[in-house]
Subunit: 209 residues, 2 copies
């Protein structure tokens, strides 16, 4: 098997962080180009045109970072990084989804609708041109403020995003916070719990994966 | 346990469809109001202010439709509606995520940024005002066209969204297609495979859940 990767990009990153915490090494194939686009041969092979993508030895192509993580969690259950019992699994999935929809997606929206290289690529995976919408800059910033504050409240009472253990929800949250930083949006000084968590998870080896 | 529900809303709907296919009945508490807002007591109880929300007997509150579905899938594994082996589970999760991010979220974006009752509520779960962005109407329509065409290609070769069996990915896709209809965006005539699938899943009892 191999993973088609764009090593600097946020969605591949959350998978790579997860795999590092899991202690798994998978062959990576870099498909990002210097002009911030995906290699044409990759888009021809995989018309969804998104990364990461896991190709199994039987040729099955699995996209979406968390679907790929699910595959590895099923074949290598230890250490459990997606919850340990039904209640805990639901809590991890809830916080991972919040990190994605309230952190990753707004950070993506902000970046894609402000960066000049994405003027006609307002959405990921599009074959056709999607023009940027400048108003999404303000909305993206407002969404990220809510994201920081929500996660700060959660981290006031929990060491990690989904409770006492490091889970895949921490991978997505870390990728989201750093992705926001691409647009110069940083953790507000008032969010001390989030900052404490960020410093701790950023110091783990997996953050460099 | 009980589920806080807004019975006409798309996110609760995909959970209710899933539960019906699972053969499970859970107490539902309606928290939607006629003016298309959530009951104030519910927002006070659950500041994330989104539906559906599952409250367990120990007081744990679990949000996000798919996190709630995960809980029930874990405590009632049969019939399996989220995949039967590692590869299949990953494929179901991949298609469920596509249905959500490429169908549900654009349908939500289109509806919230065009409907007059949402002029200051451009995003779900917000306490603060988020003004609508009219350009998102065109973008939402473009995204939904891509969603219909992508799922039409998938359904040309598969009876259901994630393969041979009805899965939770069908629940999210059905909720997304019907949510698009709220903004008068219908399956294009060219998407015959999607229409065949839509007619079949809409005829199941679960579609009325």
């Amino acid at each position: 098997m191999k993973i088609y990767d764009w090593h600097i990009a946020p969605n591949p990153r959350r998978l790579n962080i997860y795999l590092a915490e899991k202690g798994l090494k998978v062959e990576l194939v870099e498909v990002g180009q210097e002009d911030l686009s995906l290699a044409p041969w990759f888009k021809a092979k995989y018309p969804h045109a998104m990364v990461p993508m896991l190709e199994l030895d039987d040729g099955t192509m699995i996209g979406e970072a968390m679907a790929i993580a699910r595959y590895f969690e099923e074949i290598h259950p230890a250490p459990p990084l997606m919850g340990v019992d039904p209640r805990d699994k639901a809590i991890v999935e809830m916080w991972e989804k919040r990190a994605n929809e309230e952190g990753m997606l707004p950070a993506s929206e902000l970046f894609r609708n402000t960066h000049e290289k994405f003027a006609e690529r307002g959405l990921p995976g599009a074959a056709d041109a999607i023009p940027a919408i400048p108003e999404l800059r303000d909305r993206g910033r407002a969404r990220l403020t809510r994201f920081f504050e929500k996660f700060d409240r959660q981290l006031a009472e929990n060491e990690f995003v989904a409770g006492k253990r490091w889970t895949v929800a921490d991978a997505t949250t870390l990728a989201a916070v750093d992705f926001a930083g691409w647009s110069d949006v940083k953790i507000p000084a008032s969010c001390r719990n989030l900052q404490r968590w960020y410093d701790a998870v950023s110091a783990r080896l997996s953050a460099k994966a």
